[in-house]
């Protein structure tokens, strides 16, 4: 079954051959699972799985003023990675009101070249905003839709990827977390390997030319890396305490009330990044909400938009929620009043159920923390 109106990644044929259940995922025909979302979740927690993340948007920024440009564009400080080839940094891109336009990862490639990977659903508005912020900067912005991306995640992911891809990713085994390397730049054999991910497990995100993607996918599968759908990617990131743009934060929300304060760097007083003034004002006036993890004590499932009821305080709201396959309990993220203590109630179908308020993440590298 094909749907002509949906976009397909270079791995579409492989997904069909591997029995994927394909769904409309923000305009892309993507695998939600290949049989069981829960099995795929455990596969990544216990061994190694791979995800087609070709729908994500890769943008290369080149030019002698690229650091200055990002210094204003991003809430985190590009100075942490500028000139340090291979270093990665997670950041929000804010509007002038301090709302989150998107979250992204930047990779320092060369002194005058920084790669940015933004979300798929926000592609158009991100590119429009990034272009609008260029002004007269000596920065060239190029969308790299010629490149594909595969995330290989799990405790055995790096070892199996090494076995599967060998010299293609030579040197990747030496990478430290949140570092990347580029091999054979510009050639068919170009591979960009980053020790990053969205699951709370070790692993790589591997970028290669579109025409090479299916071969890389099949080589990984042959080495025992199981294909996993975007369904399990969501429960994995939820357990790992990682925000999802559009659910946990958006343009109407401040990163300071979305659990992302750690990504906003106010330390350089001279760095006037977009949204800084608005966030400083917000801090001065006092934050009203905090962003927490919730675990439902009894049976049921937490979902986004359920109401959180706190004694003596205004209501809060779940921003994400699901069933944690690792913990066998319902978990979620919520924006709740700062006065919220260690317990609250969640309203599910007109019943108020007890939940515990916990620190994020719930699970990291296979271990339950919450």
């Amino acid at each position: 079954m094909t749907n002509a109106t949906l976009k397909e990644t270079p791995l579409f044929q492989a997904h069909q051959q591997m029995g994927a259940k394909l769904v409309d995922f923000g305009g892309w025909n993507m695998p939600i699972h290949y049989g069981s979302q829960i099995d795929e979740h455990h596969q990544v927690r216990n061994d190694a799985g791979m995800f087609d993340v070709c729908h994500m948007t890769i943008v290369d920024l080149r030019g002698c003023e690229v650091v200055d440009y990002l210094s204003k564009l991003l809430a985190n400080d590009v100075a942490k990675v500028a000139g340090k080839s291979g270093k990665a940094l997670y950041s929000c891109m804010l509007n002038n009101d301090g709302g989150v336009i998107d979250d992204l990862i930047i990779y320092s490639m060369e002194p005058a070249w920084i790669r940015v990977i933004v979300n798929s659903a926000t592609r158009e508005k991100d590119l429009a905003w990034m272009r609008s912020q260029l002004g007269n900067s000596a920065v060239d912005l190029t969308e790299r839709d010629d490149l594909a991306m595969i995330a290989v995640q799990g405790p055995n992911a790096r070892e199996l990827a090494g076995k599967a891809l060998g010299a293609q990713i030579a040197g990747a085994e030496e990478l430290k977390p949140f570092n990347a390397l580029l091999l054979n730049s510009g050639a068919d054999s170009e591979r960009f390997v980053a020790r990053t991910g969205y699951t709370g497990e070790d692993g790589y995100e591997i970028v290669c030319p579109n025409a090479q993607a299916e071969q890389v996918w099949i080589q990984l599968a042959d080495a025992g890396v199981k294909p996993c759908g975007l369904g399990s990617r969501d429960t994995l990131r939820l357990e790992a305490g990682m925000n999802l743009y559009g659910s946990d934060m958006d343009q109407s929300q401040s990163p300071l009330e979305s659990g992302l304060s750690w990504t906003v760097d106010f330390s350089n007083e001279n760095r006037q990044f977009n949204g800084r003034a608005a966030l400083e004002k917000q801090k001065q006036q006092g934050l009203k909400y905090k962003f927490v993890g919730l675990v439902l004590n009894g049976k049921g499932v937490l979902r986004a938009h359920q109401k959180v009821v706190v004694d003596g305080a205004p209501d809060g709201e779940l921003t994400s929620g699901s069933f944690s396959p690792t913990m066998q309990k319902a978990i979620g993220f919520a924006r709740v009043p700062v006065a919220t203590g260690t317990t609250c109630k969640v309203e599910i179908r007109n019943k108020q159920l007890d939940a515990s308020v916990v620190k994020l993440p719930f699970v990291r590298q296979g271990k339950v923390l919450a």
């Binding site: 079954m1 699972h33 069981s36 979302q37 829960i38 049976k299 049921g300 069933f323 179908r349």
Partner: protein, 131 residues
């Protein structure tokens, strides 16, 4: 094409109905429906003795992905529920038409079962939803 047993009745909201020898109706969700929802993690069933109108929501099944209301196929009173599902909601995935049954009702009016879809009509409905 999903498995659609000939001997069962169906609804447009993807419940199946088995007419038992004693005139009660056993209700579950179809193989097609469980496939769409994916791995089940929670089921909320009615209480025995609850009475429902036709097409009234009377239970909820939740997969990792989403919550889905279950509708009472015809007017009736609940005479039994599948308590096994409380600790093993995945039975719906394993065998939607047998171990995965949800509840049983005594129909208010026996003739109402005639309003339910047969296997052929349900197959056509599933087919139409896939295009």
């Amino acid at each position: 094409m999903s498995d659609i047993p000939q001997e069962l009745k169906y609804t447009k909201s993807h419940e199946w109905i088995r007419i038992e020898g004693d005139g009660t109706l056993t209700v579950g969700i179809t193989e097609h429906a469980q496939g769409l929802l994916g791995d089940m993690v929670f089921v909320e069933l009615p209480d025995v003795g609850d009475e429902f109108e036709a097409e009234q929501d009377c239970a909820v099944v939740e997969s990792v992905k989403a919550a889905s209301d279950i509708y009472c196929p015809i007017e009736g009173e609940v005479t039994a529920v599948n308590e096994e599902l409380e600790d093993a909601p995945e039975l719906i995935n394993v065998n939607a038409y047998h171990e995965g049954w949800l509840f049983r009702i005594q129909p208010g009016k026996a003739d109402d079962v005639d309003s339910l879809m047969n296997a052929e009509d349900y197959a056509a409905l599933v087919e139409s939803e896939q295009h």
